[in-house]
């Protein structure tokens, strides 16, 4: 990690950085009054009028999962990633996955991933030769690596999982359905470790966000009782990936009743 020039100790809370924080708690009765935090060295509370939380970045794989593309478990980042080749081509050869939804990356690398996929697509359509495609992609891939290794760019921004393991039981992890950390732990302790089985039992992941906010935390909580994170699985994603107006779906509807939907008539005997 690169050194941060701002002071560590909060003698002047404005503009200081506290590192190694393992727990954050909003404090107050009718409104936010302060923020408590824990580090290995101390527990303290700072007065605060506003708290901004950022849990880190994770690629949004919902659309890819809905499409049924293959995914692989990335153990060092503790997350699922859409499986692609270096050009971004997925397990469906007509689908490329590029940018942040493939991996969290530097801005330049994300942009270049689109260009790389574009060159491969041009090759698919016979617009460039194999060697031309290879040459141009190789040049861009070099730029991608250079940017990733550049000063200050080496960090990965995935969600830091150990925090989930310190969550008190009464913390709500699924805001859509109001499911607490304790409830997830109880399910896992009772032997339910597949994330979709936990979803079926507790409804976490059934709300409008479909687990965008809670899936990682739920997975880590289950892992307290079942260590194999990959086995725990990924939530089944159902369409639509964002809520849509009922009229939008109706617009796709058949103009006439499908045959199986016609109820057979009963005649008077």
């Amino acid at each position: 990690m690169s050194a941060d020039p701002r002071p560590e100790h909060p003698t002047d809370p404005a503009g200081c950085v506290i590192q190694g924080v393992t727990m954050i708690r909003a404090v107050g009765t009718k409104r936010l009054e302060g923020v408590s935090y824990e580090t290995p060295r101390e527990t303290a509370t700072l007065p605060a009028a506003c708290l901004l939380l950022h849990p880190g970045y994770e690629s949004d794989t919902h659309l890819a999962r809905l499409m049924g593309l293959d995914h692989e478990w990335i153990a060092r980042e503790r997350c699922w990633r859409t499986r692609t080749d270096r050009s971004g081509r997925s397990s469906n050869d007509k689908v490329f996955v590029v940018g942040d939804c493939r991996r969290v990356d530097t801005v330049a690398a994300s942009r270049l991933s689109g260009a790389i996929a574009g060159i491969e697509t041009a090759h698919d359509f016979g617009r460039v030769t194999s060697s031309e495609s290879h040459r141009r992609r190789a040049a861009l891939l070099e730029k991608v690596e250079a940017d990733r290794n550049a000063e200050g760019n080496g960090r990965s921004f995935h969600i830091s999982p150990p925090h989930s393991r310190r969550l008190p039981d009464d913390v709500v992890v699924c805001g859509c359905e109001g499911v607490t950390a304790g409830q997830v732990r109880d399910e896992a302790a009772a032997g339910t470790w597949q994330i979709n089985a936990v979803k079926s039992n507790l409804r976490c992941g059934m709300g409008p966000c479909q687990g965008r906010n809670c899936e990682a935390a739920v997975r880590e909580l289950i892992a307290e009782h079942h260590e194999d994170l990959a086995q725990i699985g990924a939530l089944h994603i159902r369409p639509p990936i964002r809520p849509i107006a009922i009229t939008e779906m109706i617009a796709l509807g058949l103009p006439e009743v499908p045959p199986e939907a016609v109820v057979p008539r009963t005649v008077r005997s």
Partner: protein
Amino acid sequence: MKVVVLEKDYMARHASGSNAGSVHHISRLVPELPLAEVALTMWNEIEALLDDDCGFQRVGHLKLAESPVDLESMIAAAERLRSACGIVEQFVEADRLRDIVPELGRGHVGAIFSPHCGQAQPARTVRAMRRKAQRHGTTFVEGVEVREVGRRAGVWEATGKGETYSAPVLVNCAGAWGGTISACVGEPVALTPLALMVTALSPMRRLLGPVIGLASRLLSVKQFNNGSVVVGGGYRGTPLLAEGRAELDYGKLGYNLQAAVETLPHLKAGKIVRCWAGLEGRSPDGLPIIGPSATELGLWHAFGFSTHGFFLGPAVGRMIADEILGLPARLSLAPFGIGRFLALTVHSRATALQIRNQEI
């Protein structure tokens, strides 16, 4: 009696957890009505049975006629039902419909209201059954797909995932996969896999009382206590049985929702949160397969519930248990015998059609 349940995925993974939670009978399936009456009684006492109300709400079911032809058909079905069972149905005149459902669109000419019917929560019901069964000593084994069953020296063996489970009695309740199990003992049934689509709308102002249906085209609309609305009725997506999943058919889903909005115009403001389709099996004649094996001792079947297994479930469990224990039968399971399909391979096609037409 020790019971072991072998589940190929996890409890409530398929039809038992993904159905829309309707608790009502299907009037035109006359041979099924005595069984439906038992099921309805059990649902109305579900809390005493399972120590959990399973989210069952006796909001009633209102089946609407959209035309005079619908009305005739509905009345004829009601007459047949009256001779077949004691389920209460009340006729509702057109001018009284909005007393029951103020939000109803215009043009409905009458309805049948079934006051003891309603809705429940599938996953919750499965969990309640499991908890109660576990308290009585039942073991649930998940993640074991039984690929082979056979009887050896009077004992049934079910094999899956390298393990063999043995018992004197075997019950085949493998849902959409029930025909595969029955085929192991020489009683194949050609189930048609179905993927019935359900849509959940985000919570709306609580307006709906009874579950709403239509007489001549499929529709089911219900609202839960938190305001969320569930629309279904039996529109078919594409089942992918080998993959254990289904794909939606947006053309049919759109029509399903159009029917809902025509019936209840206030739903036009609805937002779709998610759509899904579970996997279940339809039997060749639309009636379930319930009862003893036609070829082997100690084997019972309970599968092929053809879109209404959630409702019938409690009654079917009771019937099968009574048979296994040698208790007197409350009603005849003859209409549901698996033998009727074995006979079909012998009879001519014309005879097969004749048998099916008796249900229409």
